[in-house]
Amino acid sequence: MTEGAEHTTVDQARDMGLSADEFDRICERLGRIPNLTELGIFSAMWSEHCSYKSSRRWLKTLPISGEQVIHGPGENAGVVDIGDGMAAVFKIESHNHPSFIEPYQGAATGVGGILRDVFTMGARPVALLNALRFGAPDHALTRHLVSGVVSGIGGYGNCIGIPTIGGETHFDASYNQNILVNAMAVGLARADRIFLSAASGVGNPVIYIGAKTGRDGIHGATMASAEFSEEDMSKRPTVQVGDPLAGKLLMEASLELMASDAVVSIQDMGAAGLTSSSVEMSSKGGLGMEIDLDQVPIREKGMTPYEIMLSESQERMLVVLKPDATERAQAIFDKWDLDFAIIGKVTDSGHLVLTAQDEIVADLPLDPLVNDAPEYDRPHEATPPLSPIDNAELVQDMPLSDALKAMLGSHFLASRRWVYEQYDRHVMADTVIESGGDAALVRVHGTNRGLAVTTDCTQRYVLADPYQGAMQAVAEAYRNITATGAKPLATTNNLNFGNPEKSAIMGQIVGSIKGMGAACSALNVPVVSGNVSLYNETDGQAIAPAPVIGMVGVISDIKDAVTIALKQAGETLYIIGQSQDTADGWLSNSVYAHVIAGNDTATAPPSVDLGSEQKHGEYIRHLISQHLVSAVHDIGDGGALAALAEMAMAGNIGVNLTLEAEQLTHGWAFGEDQARYLVASADPTALEAAAARYDINIQKIAMTSDNMQLKLGGSDIISIEELNSVYENWLPELMGSKKQ
């Protein structure tokens, strides 16, 4: 062996994020000490990012099967049957650390990466969503990060031409130095034309398509698996740069290549680049692979085997071609002006063998690389249960309208229009419901079928109670999908936590996974893909835990779908899931508690009743399919009155509350009790009859009107215009794009 043949040391292993025990384990499995390239490959494959070594033990407990599931976790993305021979392919993935270091490129490459995961499976991406968490609005870095991340997401998604139609943006001081950027992509494919990554056919050529390999992002997977410190700001040069044009050409060429029956298997070079793609393809096929590194297209002179194998340059794919398909493939790459190179072949050795200048520079058995990564049962300490605060301690003496205005003008509830207007939401011309409501809805091109998509997580609930908080995230996503009329099908998750080597953090992880598992089972929305992002800490301070749920649902006819916008005067508004005599609601840890009562401590969040979630969801879908409701909104942050205001603003229709004065308590108005929806109906008789049949509690609360006001009882009246102005102005003012 040539360069890198010298033996590595435990210190070098530590620098790559491996422990001394792990280094010993590698030496023992190999029967020798690895060289630098080999150690780099092990460190990437055994990183938290690739091996899930801290979370795997718990991830295994999640429900992953169901009759709708075609492919669960383990492939590039999950695949779910949506009927008519079609499948939805989707996944969410984090790009937290890179986005903090360089917000535009970090976010852009996050979008590019998740899109490759989806089109790699033969699916055309049709929707993008983003779950974003930034620090406190007044923190010195927040504006810079929001502005960079949002333009980065738009910069990539708009250019490649996939609509960005959903997601969420939240602010919390725990993200001051460690923002979260989770990107979700959803694609469509024929259910019988899904491409997997397992290589087959000994001797088949292995080809490299797309951008040349540079020194960018070397060891990104390891970086994503380590705590963050001030020094990392100087790591800027390792951040990858996205090229959405190359991404678009790669996407079109890959889809064309797959349609031409030239491909045996295909894998994108994402985290850990050529290492993870070559290892996964050959190991899943139970085979081996030989790669000649001299054939890998490189962008910079003098790259070492170590650098080539661990580069995370963007817009690259690895493909095993059918033996007779080289000419077909060549024609497709010529059309799209893409470089490609035959860099190796499939073998039956069970080894990954790398050569450079005719010498072997690495020779690793695949089995230990993928199967012998340590699995840790890290000590975990459950988050101690918190008590709720009594409403009496929280309720302030003020008119409902004043409280509502303050809440709608707070960072919790204010309009995210400033964010989503920077995203192209209409390209592909299949957008039915776009950002700003509950779930977004896209038409399955050429049919009447629709896919509803959402991401959700209320991190302040999870921080207070990981089990209930994670259940709530699933329940809220379920309600958001349901509120459009679609049936929830399956989930993807992005588990964002601090350092799992701390027992309290591990306790959050375990509690969240248990809660998520319980909810996904009860609501029949199995987990089909996901991503784990740990070590989200800066100088020892962990983020508020955010197990983000991405969910996909299907509606058979988009003409039946409804939005949150009120449609006309004279309709009756009901709270579904609330009995007529409910006087009070759950204010502990609510937006009201934080904004109005100024209570910023973690207190018990509302609990989730999965049976009610399912029952109420079925009733709502029935109402929508029978055209008994004209507008539906899930009740979440800010409670019933915030939901009501959002519906009124969206439709520019007024509302008169019809309840008695003593019923209009702040707990009733702003409580965040779960399993509830607000609906508008032009046929109250039929709606009530159906409620009786389904055995659902409902509360009639208001009538819509054409007076452009919210009449909240007695003389408490506020115009929609005034509400709009507080709701719409907060974010533009924060970002300095609005004259005050």
Binding site: I160, L245, R425
Partner: protein, 228 residues
């Protein structure tokens, strides 16, 4: 019905959308051309779709305006053929010198995607808009980063005299009715012969019920009928 063609460039991403919209109107698939092609059949109307041709690198539309198919395109224009350039297609037309002026970065330095209100002018002097009503109001979305139309005062005056300022953002009283700072609220311009129209808004995105309106279809139908 007009015989329509659509040209795609690497990075075009609204080609499928406009093809779908045209097919809904004419009942037939428009002809499609790739930027590398060097010959083009005769068509009544050639459409340059939106997107990010060549990644918007160098300048939006600059590289596309110099691709092989553009020679055929110029010939079509000289023959008096009709052309519709949407968004990036408009940028390509100005870069190719077929339409006057240029499209600069949005004044607020951000990509903008939302519905805008448009007014159609000069329907008598522009053959491509002959089927539209003068002062017609249309609600159609924009989605661009470089839609800030600019031309020097002399050019603007010449354009106004010749009736080339054909589409403007309607001043609805809303603070941001003009989404990009375009001079004189210009959203679309025509060529001197009135047969080439460049338009920042995307009519193909308001062409079906699910788009929340059909004003775009109305405009596209008028253009296709005018070219027939």
């Amino acid at each position: 019905m007009a015989n329509v063609a659509v040209i795609s460039f690497p990075g075009s991403n609204c080609d499928r959308d406009i093809i779908t919209a045209v097919k809904h109107i004419t009942g037939t698939d428009p002809a499609q051309y790739w930027h590398k092609e060097t010959s083009m059949d005769k068509h009544d109307l050639v459409i340059l779709p939106g997107g990010f041709s060549f990644g918007d690198y160098l300048r939006c539309g600059a590289i596309a305006a110099r691709s092989p198919i553009m020679d055929e395109m110029m010939e079509h224009v000289w023959r008096g053929g009709y052309v519709l350039g949407i968004c990036n297609g408009f940028q390509i037309l100005t870069e190719a010198g077929i339409l006057p002026g240029t499209l600069m970065r949005n004044k607020q330095l951000q990509f903008v995607c939302r519905d805008v209100m448009l007014t159609i002018h000069q329907t008598e002097s522009n053959a491509i808009l002959a089927q539209c009503k003068e002062q017609m109001q249309l609600q159609i979305p924009v989605a661009h980063n470089e839609g800030n139309y600019f031309a020097d005062p002399d050019t603007l005056k010449k354009m106004a005299d010749k009736g080339q300022i054909a589409v403007t953002y309607t001043n609805t009283g809303a603070e941001n009715y003009n989404p990009n700072g375009a001079i004189n609220d210009i959203a679309g311009v025509t060529s001197e012969n009135g047969r080439v129209l460049g338009l920042m808004p995307h009519p193909e995105r308001k062409a079906e019920d699910i788009h929340g309106g059909q004003d775009g279809r109305l405009l596209l139908t008028s253009v296709i009928e005018a070219a027939s």
